[in-house]
Amino acid sequence: MIKKDLFIIMKQETIAENIMELTCTSPLTKQMTEPGQFLHLRVDTSEDLLLRRPISICDVDVENETVTMLYRIDGKGTKRLSLKQPGDTINILGPLGNGFPLEATERGETALLVGGGIGVPPLYYLSKQLTERGVKVIHVLGFQNQVNVFYENEFSALGETFIVTADGSYGEKGFVTDVIKQKDISFDTMYTCGPTPMLSALQTAYREKRLYLSLEERMGCGVGACFACVCHVEGDTTQTLYRKVCTDGPVFPVGEVVL
């Protein structure tokens, strides 16, 4: 199956401080049905940046064959990516990995979607698909501070949305875990993506729940061949078992891997 294409950029915009919204088109979008999967981007064809960059699928318009990604301008690759213009092309591999299981939540149940920083984007496509399936969604989205907040309206349109900032400059102040407790949010399933400390806190606090966590790790190949992105398996006494974030993940059920 062909999994690589030159995507054409339709739109690229700054939506928060250092946060870009990138929309591209390609027939490959037809395969992008699973929220939580990621794309592997070759920023340009020059040879100084060899590795691809993994970026989550944030939204897909299957009919118009477009996919939207949100990314933070961070290092060399994302900086260069942010200079691309509509009409330019990007060599993209994907969709890759295993996304969030929609079927884990039944119609009528409540799903709590917890995102942190640049872990927020994949939750948007997830939320859209869950609501389409008749699931009630609640969002708790953590950001560093006010200038980093994005997609508040988009999430609010789908369900109740709490914005949390570390410094309290916008929305609630503190950690997402605090807010879930303070607001006494109840839910049937939790889906989360964000920095590892946040995932750890959630895995500890909600170990007994239906919880799915999306992990981040530096990648080489993105396809399962290089063993760059492995993590240990919980309870493995031999210490030789592993899961690959790129192909076994990035989404894992609670308790499967060591964070």
Partner: protein, 315 residues
Amino acid sequence: MSRLRVELPGLSMRNPVMPASGCFGFGKEYANYFDLELLGAIAIKATTAEARFGNPTPRVAETTAGMLNAIGLQNPGLTGVMQNELPWLNQYNVPIVANVAGTEIDDYVETTAKLSQVENVHAIELNISCPNVKQGGIAFGTIPHVAAELTREVKNVSAVPVYVKLSPNVADIVEIAKAVEAAGADGLSMINTLLGMRIDLKKRKPILANGYGGLSGPAIKPVAIRMIHQVSQAVEIPIIGMGGIQTAEDVVEFMLAGASAVAVGTANFTDPYACPTIINDLTQILDDLEVESVKDLIGGAGKNATSTHNGTRFR
């Protein structure tokens, strides 16, 4: 297609291109992208006697035109490779080069003795960049007599030809090459990665959890070409060349330098279709260069480089 065919000890290759060890897993993943029978051979991930998890993550870091890796030889161990990986690969008619690693000579011997018996293993590739526990951690590949001894012991038990994969982190690669040739190596693979490091400025610590890692990719290509050129003039056994190959032009450059076949590593990560693309482009380049067969390229750059005794020169 016979324009691309090359014959090396144990390896009858339909073209001179194989994926490099550690950069292609055991083939399964890339089989989702293309037909593995397009390849000249496949060098599978290093096998050690016991299963290994490897190093903590992060295990890779990007560098300018290169990457660092410190995977730590993660692999399912001899039993796992023999039970799960090689049988699966047997569905493809493509010679397998089994890369072998260890920390003591006995490890290598044990692993080779068994792996080399497997039907589709056509050659063993000895990764001698590993630290020798008995020598206080000094890599097998940096001391000629140690490398030779390892080669000799492994040759004794191997049912198939043995390629010794040289480490570039030495002052005199020719000396090592000659030593392993004298010890019975059937061929050489070169080069393995250069030892490197990157530091995270904000965290003030190495990007790799392991600290140091192996540098691969186009950045190291000129070092690989030089070493292959030096060694190919000093030994009679064939060389599988590698280090930064990205394009069919690069393959030609390696063969002109003295390689009889090549391996493609990091490029697989940049593009999962790298190997078939390179193979596909090779014929066109032969036409452009008015060369009938890839075999005619081997060593074509001649001996006209200033000879150096010791990997360094008067600049």
